[in-house]
């Protein structure tokens, strides 16, 4: 188990968002967390990266309690990809990705650091825009840059918060393909909070279905993405089609 989440509870002030979540992430696997708005997907990811501190529960990373780890140490292990990345100050793409080396450096940038950044940019197909301003790029290109940055951290686990929500059809598939290939090639794991059930179905090894901060179902896509589950959690009638080998959800109507 690369990452273990044990009975984590988190509340913002008085509103409870996570009510006892258990989760295990294995090596080299893609895990998707799905659920309606407000079910706690993003919150769970942020707890895993120690961005938020859960009131109850323990999160282990490689068997170590993250509560006892320094933020910097954790950053060498977990790469967090936010939903979007806008900065009020203009940075170049190279500089943004270079930030991924922060957990490994104190001040100076070694040639190895530069190598890793270059390679990350190449894997994302971004070499041509390395010196352009990040804010000038399109949504899809920006997402790839954020992905490259997480890669540059040389993490063992990627945490992705809605990596495809702001992207068009083509970029959605490109980004998901990149994530898959990174997982397969580099042997890292990925945990994604994702809206799109079909993308989750197609690209995940394991799916966690959250409702109101509790896990409703967990397992392989075919086991979790069932019409009763979707009706129960989303309140939507669907038809599930298995023609492509993986479940494909066709929404019909709200119940």
């Amino acid at each position: 188990m690369k990452v273990e989440v044990n009975r984590v509870c988190f509340s913002y002030g008085n509103s409870a968002v996570l009510n006892g979540v258990d989760l295990g992430v294995e090596c080299g696997k893609v895990v998707s967390i799905v659920g309606p708005n407000g079910s706690g997907k993003s919150t769970l990811l942020k707890c895993m990266d120690k961005i938020l501190k859960p009131q109850k529960g323990v999160i282990l990373v490689d068997g170590k309690d993250i509560g006892r780890l320094q933020q910097k140490e954790l950053a060498r292990f977990l790469g967090y990809v936010p939903q979007s990345g806008n900065s009020p100050f203009p940075s170049t793409v190279f500089e943004v990705v270079l930030m991924g080396r922060r957990p490994h450096t104190n001040w100076s940038v070694s040639s190895r650091d530069k190598e890793i950044v270059s390679r990350a940019l190449e894997e994302m197909g971004l070499e041509g825009m390395a010196l352009r301003y990040f804010n000038e790029l399109s949504g899809g290109e920006k997402q790839k840059v954020l992905l490259a940055r997480a890669l540059a951290q040389e993490p063992e686990v990627l945490l992705l918060d809605e990596p495809t929500s702001a992207l068009d059809l083509r970029h959605q598939l490109e980004v998901m393909n990149l994530i898959s290939s990174m997982v397969r090639k580099n042997g890292i794991s990925a945990v994604m909070a994702i809206h799109d059930l079909n993308l989750a179905s197609r690209y995940s090894d394991w799916i966690i279905l959250l409702k109101k901060g509790l896990i409703c179902a967990a397992g392989e896509p075919a086991a979790v993405l069932l019409e009763e589950n979707i009706r129960n959690v989303y309140g939507v009638e669907t038809i599930i089609n298995h023609n492509s080998g993986k479940p494909h959800i066709i929404p019909v109507d709200p119940c």
């Binding site: 933020q71 100050f89 922060r102 270059s118 352009r132 301003y133």
Partner: protein, 357 residues
């Protein structure tokens, strides 16, 4: 290694070399400006006399001659003034760059949390009501008051916003409230002041380098040196914080602590400078922006380069202010905007479209 990759790394390295080159040129420019400024002034001195006056103190056994008056002009008046201009410009610009990075907001300055309003209030209660700290005498009264009340505002803002987790918005809002409060208090004092007291208060707020003495310079230098090292160490954290608190945390930064320390140190620098010079605006807000346009947003270069920009700007402004209508000295706080704004506008117009997005 594929050639594409090498090109990429090379391009980045070249960029870095350019940034370093800018900084070195800046240092050179500052030195030249300082030398020039030392020969300019109301008291007519030739370059030779200036050089001799400096040399005979620095190399006492080399037999250089100078007169007492010339020495007074150089060592009591011009050199301290030039050095204070450099230190103040550097300090305010550094404080501004750090504040902007820590608050992730290009519109903040070292005065955003209320340091200038507090300092003005401190100076005013000394001038109008004679309220002072025990042991302070003469000019020290206003200096100590301004410093203490300047820092007090920081404490207020820090304690208010730390309840909200030190989020940038809470800091800025708390700063706005503090600013208004102390400004109103200062205005109230001005209202009951006599003609003379009123003009003294107003004059203080103009920002001038007239109080440059070696003693004052030493104090500012110490505070600057003590602050600049920890601030530079936060360069990477400031870089990542520009992308958001969450991203910065995920990359290893302790955002709350970095923000708190940056706030404290930059306010400390601002307070100590204001105490001696009065309120010099513009530099803290705009010098970092000018610098960003020249060396980019990487704080490892932005911070030292901002110091240079601020120093050059303020030294140029003060030199102009004390020579243009000599023997009247136009307070540097007034001139620096006239000098800096055209430069800023020029750079703004030269930026690519995608710069501010």
């Amino acid at each position: 290694m594929p050639t594409g990759e090498i090109k990429l790394e090379e391009s980045y390295s070249k960029l870095i070399v350019r940034k370093v080159a800018f900084i070195l040129i800046g240092v050179g420019g500052l030195v030249v400006l300082a030398l020039l400024a030392s020969t300019l002034g109301t008291y007519n001195l030739g370059v030779k006399e200036v050089a001799h006056s400096v040399a005979h103190r620095v190399f006492p056994f080399a037999g250089f001659q100078s007169t007492e008056v010339i020495d007074t002009v150089m060592w009591k008046l011009r050199l301290p003034r030039i050095i204070l201009a450099v230190l103040s410009g550097a300090g305010l610009a550094l404080a501004g760059a750090v504040m902007q990075g820590a608050m992730r907001n290009p519109l903040v300055s070292p005065f955003t949390v209320g340091v200038s309003a507090g300092a003005a209030f401190g100076a005013s209660i000394a001038i109008v009501l004679g309220v002072k700290f025990i042991g302070a005498t003469g000019t020290g009264i206003i200096i100590v008051n301004a410093f203490v009340f300047g820092l007090l505002t920081v404490l207020v803002v820090a304690s208010l916003s730390s309840r909200k987790g030190m989020k940038p918005e809470s800091v800025i809002l708390a700063g706005i409230a503090t600013n208004y409060f102390f400004s109103a208090a200062t205005s109230a004092l001005q209202y009951i002041a006599t003609d003379e007291q009123l003009s003294e208060v107003v004059h203080w707020t103009f920002g001038s380098l007239g109080k440059a003495t070696w003693e004052n310079i030493t104090i500012v230098t110490i505070i600057l040196l003590l602050s600049i090292v920890p601030l530079m160490k936060y360069s990477w954290d400031l870089n990542t914080m520009a992308q958001g608190d969450e991203v910065a945390t995920s990359l290893g930064a302790n955002v709350g602590r970095v923000r708190g320390i940056c706030l404290t140190l930059s306010s400390l620098i601002a307070a100590v400078i204001i105490a001696f010079t009065g309120i010099i605006g513009f530099v803290g807000l705009v010098a970092p922006h000018i610098t960003r346009m020249l060396v980019g947003t990487d704080h490892r270069f932005l911070l030292p380069a901002s110091c240079l920009t601020g120093a050059i700007l303020l030294l140029a402004a003060d030199t102009i202010g004390r020579t243009i209508v000599s023997p009247i000295i136009i307070p540097v706080g007034i001139i620096v905007s006239f000098v800096g704004v055209p430069l800023f506008i020029y750079l703004l117009l030269m930026q690519r479209r995608g710069y501010w997005s």
